[in-house]
Symmetry: C2
Subunit: 273 residues, 2 copies
């Protein structure tokens, strides 16, 4: 069965979007559509151009006999900015204020479209970084971690606060929460991370960074290293930040419970990445 160019373009677009960071050979596409490699090459040229023009991402060509193409998500800053601005407005609604100056973000984190878009932005920043696995801590960071990981084509491991029989044997550490100064425990299934892995830590919220710091310590137990730290929201006003190198989409600069005012602005994403 032969395919017309228009059909190939549609199916290839879907295939590439669904297989980010994976090398797809020209032979694979050529056999899939019963088309000459020269036609496939032309198709890929059109796709690459359109992807870049529309801010979808880019195709990287790997030359040689074992070559092919790889799709990378790359959201341009001019598209990322309005999204982050909208998110800031959404977060700044006064009825999000909870007792103690906490913010209700559950609805935002519960919106798959927002989470996926945020995941694409963060994944764009790590497109050229070697990453083997994304790590997060239960519960709130999980959706964002999957959104990032699916674009980076790596697995997710979830650190827990409590032990479950279904995790098998675990490695646990005690750590001090940065903001409450309490001692807490976190644990991770022993078989979840291989030695030497490069790990991207993803979380929804970072205050002083105690939890993230705990995850960094946990990685040492696995002889794994931190490839990056990415959070959706960072709280700015913290006496001392335990973590230096990180990427944040949004910065929570001030929460005034009395005046019911929440001040948010864009995070360091646009200046750091």
């Amino acid at each position: 069965m032969k395919f017309r160019r228009s059909e190939r373009l549609i199916d290839m677009t879907n295939y590439l979007l669904d297989h980010p960071r994976q090398l797809v050979s020209l032979t694979f596409f050529s056999e899939r559509y019963g088309s000459a490699k020269s036609s496939i090459s032309e198709d890929l040229g059109i796709i690459k151009e359109t992807f870049e023009q529309r801010g979808i991402g880019t195709l990287q060509t790997v030359p040689g006999a074992a070559g092919g193409v790889k799709f990378f998500v790359k959201v341009p800053k001019e598209e990322a900015r309005p999204f982050v601005e909208e998110l800031c407005e959404l977060i700044a609604t006064p009825d999000r204020l909870l007792p103690g100056g906490y913010l209700y973000l559950t609805d935002i984190l519960g919106d798959p479209a927002i989470v996926q878009k945020a995941g694409r932005l963060l994944a764009s920043a790590y497109a050229d970084t070697k990453i083997d696995v994304v790590m997060t801590v239960a519960t709130k960071g999980i959706p964002l971690a999957y959104a990032v990981a699916s674009q980076l084509n790596v697995p997710v491991v979830i650190v827990r606060r409590d032990s479950k029989v279904t995790e098998g044997s675990t490695v646990s550490i005690n750590y001090v929460s940065g903001s409450t100064k309490r001692i807490q425990t976190m644990l991770l299934s022993k078989r979840s991370i291989e030695e030497g892995s490069k790990v991207l830590i993803v979380d929804d919220f970072m205050k002083a960074g105690g939890t993230v710091n705990g995850m960094v310590s946990l990685l040492e137990e696995f002889n794994a290293s931190v490839a990056g730290i990415a959070v959706l929201v960072e709280a700015e006003k913290t006496e001392e930040r335990l973590v230096d190198e990180y990427l944040s989409l949004i910065k929570l600069s001030d929460v005034d419970v009395k005046e019911k005012r929440i001040s948010v602005s864009e995070g360091n994403y646009f200046s750091k990445y």
Copy 2:
């Protein structure tokens, strides 16, 4: 700026895949590309045909002035079956056996590609069902719930076992676990579900169904109703099942700890849906 057909097809494919179950007007596309509506109509015809042929999904045309197209994910059974078979093989590996006859599934649930595919299969089954929200319980069901919800274009709400200040006020219930017969608590943020909502319950694993049953009771407190129940794996050998109507991709029929044998087969997905 004018766009050629090939560029339109690539960008429209990406746009539609990214906006499932959302009505997109011809005017929107026509303005996006500076093209006549008649050309857009033709484009959509080609996309619909290719989507259906390649098992990606389908486009539904809504006629009239306020009309447009909607993309629905629809994985055909002949494509779903090999995926489920592979998953069965993956689960049947003896080294997944944990003390007590539990199974280690963390790596499978940690693979975004598997989770997304499973989510697409389950979402396909509910393409024609009215669903307002997907509900799951922390922690393991979360990624699958998001994978389903993103295809259905609805938010996710997460039931928790412990109370967190960031959830605001909550509604909690006590329920009896089906397999261990212990009394447990689950709670959900008060503002997370609107009255009258139609809810799809999604979880990774169902034994006797106590947890799912708990979620059903919790929904009654919100005056919301169950639109469906979908799980990745069901355990077959349970004395009495507390839940009748559900969809499962995989059935765990027997776990023989002594012989280190795990028997898995396809779930009721293929017969029920």
